[in-house]
């Protein structure tokens, strides 16, 4: 749904831009194309590596790590696994549910979901390209600790 809105938004903005100034818009599109190409080169490889990692690691392995008897250790694992992977939501939530029903800790799952989205180890090279090293490192580290705090609080509340 939001994807459709996004595409329509971009189309509308573009049409307006064309109406305003054709040559400027053409230049803008050229810029967009260059940006797109640069990003593609980077992201396709990263995605393929993650696809490979997800395929090669059996789910039972993740289950064991997140279901460890020690809640703190499993939370840390949850946060770490979430950090190094990007998993689309439609896989991540069913996976989390099956992990939970098969005995993973709630805090570990919360940490996993939060770092999964907020911390991007895999996307770090792209972030660095746009925002430089310092910003990317600081943002990701803070996000990681925040995710752990969120997870711990959730364990306390729920």
């Amino acid at each position: 749904m939001t994807t459709i809105l996004l595409i329509f938004g971009a189309g509308g903005f573009l049409a307006w831009s064309f109406k305003k100034d054709v040559t400027k818009t053409k230049d803008t599109l050229k810029n967009a194309l260059v940006m797109m190409k640069e990003m593609l080169i980077e992201i396709v490889g990263i995605m393929a590596i993650i696809g490979w990692v997800l395929a090669i690691i059996p789910e039972s392995y993740i289950r064991n790590l997140l279901g460890s008897a020690n809640e703190f250790v499993s939370t840390l694992w949850g946060a770490l696994i979430g950090t190094v992977t990007i998993i689309p939501a439609f896989i991540a939530f069913p996976l989390s549910k099956s992990l939970y029903t098969s005995g993973a800790n709630l805090t570990a799952i919360a940490a996993f979901i939060t770092t999964l989205t907020m911390v991007g180890f895999a996307t770090f090279p792209i972030e660095k390209k746009y925002f430089k090293k310092k910003f990317s490192i600081v943002r990701n580290i803070t996000a990681f600790f925040m995710a752990i705090i969120i997870a711990i609080l959730m364990g306390v509340i729920l």
């Binding site: 994807t3 573009l14 940006m35 995605m47 939501a89 910003f135 803070t142």
Partner: protein
Amino acid sequence: MIEKIKKYKFIIIAGLLIFTTPIYNPNAFFEALNITKGFFLEMLQIMPAIMIISALINQWVPREVIIKHFGDGSGIKGKIYSFIIGSFSAGPIYAAFPVTHSLLKKGASVANTVIIISSWAVIKIVMFMVESSFLGISFALTRYLLTIPAILVMSFFVSKIVSREEILDETEENYNPVLEKLPGMNCGACGSKNCEAFANDVQKGDKVLTDCVYINES
């Protein structure tokens, strides 16, 4: 050659990893291809629109507008706007980088940039519905309610440590006024790698404009 390898390093590594997999685990090979295909399709849906919007923001949106609504003095309203933009956007976190970078360049504050990136990644209405259907509404709601203040803390923390200049200096030099005067031939006769590097050297005072052979001629 080495630069080419560096540029394509992720693709090369991925190719090596994936295409050696059938030797020891044929199932994982097809699984890997499948997952990668899923990622790729998602990206193809979103990235062209994202890139066009980012480039159009660069081109058209006036600096003052961004500074007013997302700049350092934009206050609570700016933070609310940032949350709204982030959570209504589509796509994974890497889609947020080009757009937020354009906004930052146009005068958005570092704190608001962090808010947009984080809420882009975490706060999604559709995701919220999926999450509550799988893990229960109380789980999803609690996580969201905790995440919003967490994002505010993050944005404060990051903006205290990293300054705008530390993010932008190189990129802003791309819009070096000197560059506009240059022919853009990238001939290298001045001793710099290309016109961009030369423009930066002139800006720094290491070189003078007439070091450019084209300008010297005219």
